[in-house]
């Protein structure tokens, strides 16, 4: 959770993919798995938020330009 805010979008995405592949390998204990899922969910949420912010920024930028 802590690193979610500090990570860049690309790093976050990389981490999510890493977690998905870890989940698919299924070599960890269920506790670790739960922890990973939680981390991935958090990262996904952050990334979505970032994307929405970016989209708004883009809209704002082009929208102002078009006016």
């Amino acid at each position: 959770m802590d690193n979610s805010t500090t990570l860049t979008y690309d790093k976050a995405l990389q981490r999510i993919e890493e977690i998905v592949s870890l989940l698919e390998e299924d070599t960890k204990s269920i506790d670790e798995l739960a922890k990973l899922v939680k981390e991935a969910s958090g990262l996904i949420k952050d990334c979505k938020l970032k994307l929405r912010t970016t989209e708004e920024d883009i809209h704002k930028a082009f929208g102002e330009d078009q006016q």
Binding site: V20, T27, K28, I44, L51, I58, F62, D65
Partner: protein, 438 residues
């Protein structure tokens, strides 16, 4: 033998015979051979009769002073000339015989009509001869000069008529300069014809140098005396044959002289001749002035026409220039418009490409975000799918051996298994291992 008579006795006899046998007076036809005036006022004459230049009769005659004065003045007023030698007369005479002076005749009266007739006859003969010889019209063939500037004048220098002529010429109101040269001649009497002929010859000799335009013959006015010289054949012939047109101003009142007849132009008096000459000047000047006015007018017209032409050309040029400037300006405007539209087009193109770029940027960004969203969704699904809680909640369980998922571990009898359900953690020991499925 008869007893001799003394001379006086004889002369007395002659006188008695004449007195008894002759009429008191006779009308006779004769020619005056010679006439001389005496100091006492008598006239002494010699009467002759000629037949083809031969003398056939001759007698002395006289006119006594008392008769002579009246007779002479009557004769002059009738014939225009005095009695003189060469004249044919009809005279009333009586024959006289004087013991000392001899035979003579005394003229009591003269009928001037006979002399006039004789003279007219002779004049007609001369005119007939001149006509036959073609001399009457000869001098008239000259065309009078337009402006007679150089005159050869035949006159007597002392005559009043000559003075009138010069005065008239030189004091003309227009100030024309007329050059004249006097060739003096005797203008009356028996020597006049020869003198005038001499003057004509002198003029003819001077013509090449002096370039005379006109020959003028004038005679001083005054009494109409002795104009017979102007009826002379030789003089008329000389006048007709001159190389100059002749203008006369002889001043006859009654009729024309033969010289007048053969001259180019006949004027009555010297003053009239001067006027005639000046008239030529005036006429010419008037014509010159007329022509000047005509020239001025036509030049004015030509100038007006040329002015109009120039104005037309000016207008044409002006229009041409205007048209050219307009065309040039239009062309320039065209170029300006071209440049403007080119610039606008370029701007438009740039704007379009900018807008395109903007749009594609926007599109790309959106696409990218959409892609990212899709990717995240897919990852989220994966995460959800792989979340152990999901399949635990469906009733599946999970079994681990020593914290290692069971499918990863080598399981033997007696190994402790930990099984997770949604809500429970179950510990068990392996008792049997059988093969199951594939």
């Amino acid at each position: 033998m008869q007893k001799p008579l003394s001379l006086s006795e004889l002369n007395q006899l002659i006188r008695q015979a004449l007195d008894t046998n002759l009429e008191p007076s006779y009308w006779i036809l004769a020619e005056i051979g010679e006439l001389r005036d005496s100091a006492k006022g008598h006239a002494y004459l010699e009467l002759v009769e000629k037949s083809a230049d031969h003398l056939v009769a001759k007698i002395k005659a006289n006119i006594w002073s008392y008769t002579y004065q009246g007779l002479q003045s009557r004769f002059v007023s009738a014939t225009g000339q005095r009695l003189r030698g060469g004249m044919k007369i009809l005279a009333l005479v009586n024959v006289q015989f004087h013991e000392i002076y001899g035979l003579s005749i005394n003229i009591k009266d003269i009928d001037p009509n006979y002399t006039i007739g004789e003279r007219a006859k002779r004049k007609n003969e001369i005119i007939d001869q001149l006509t036959r010889e073609g001399l009457i019209e000869l001098n008239k063939q000259f065309i009078l000069p337009k402006v007679p500037q150089r005159l050869a004048v035949i006159s007597s220098s002392s005559a009043a008529g000559f003075e009138d002529f010069v005065n008239q010429l030189e004091h003309n109101s227009e100030g024309y300069a007329v050059h004249w040269e006097l060739y003096p001649a005797i203008m009356q009497g028996s020597t006049a014809s020869a003198s005038i002929i001499q003057a004509i010859e002198a003029i003819e000799a001077d013509v090449p140098d002096r370039k005379f335009d006109l020959l003028v013959i004038i005679r001083g006015g005054g009494a109409q005396t002795d104009l017979d010289c102007f009826d002379n054949y030789d003089l008329a012939r000389a006048v007709a044959n001159t190389t100059l047109p002749v203008v006369t101003g002889i001043g006859h009142e009654r009729d024309e002289s033969v010289v007048d007849l053969v001259a180019n132009t006949k004027m009555k008096t010297p003053t009239a001749v001067a006027e005639f000459v000046l008239y030529g000047f005036r006429d010419f000047e008037e014509k010159v002035l007329e022509n000047l006015i005509r020239i001025e007018r036509s030049i004015g017209r030509i100038l007006q026409m040329e002015n109009r032409k120039i104005r037309d050309k000016e207008l044409i040029l002006q229009n041409l220039f205007l048209a050219k400037t307009r065309t040039a300006r239009d062309k320039l405007d065209g170029k300006k418009q071209g440049i403007l539209s080119l610039a606008q087009n370029a701007l438009k193109i740039h704007r379009f490409s900018l807008e395109d770029m903007e749009k594609s940027l926007q599109r790309n960004a959106k696409t990218r975000i959409t892609q990212e969203v899709a990717r995240l969704d897919s990852l989220e699904k994966d995460v959800n799918r792989l979340d152990p809680l999901v399949f635990l909640s469906k009733g599946y369980t999970r079994t681990e051996v020593n914290g290692i998922p069971m499918q990863q571990a080598a399981i033997g009898k007696g190994d402790e298994l930990t099984t997770f359900s949604l809500t429970k953690k179950i510990k068990s020991n392996v008792t049997v291992i059988e093969k199951y499925g594939q």
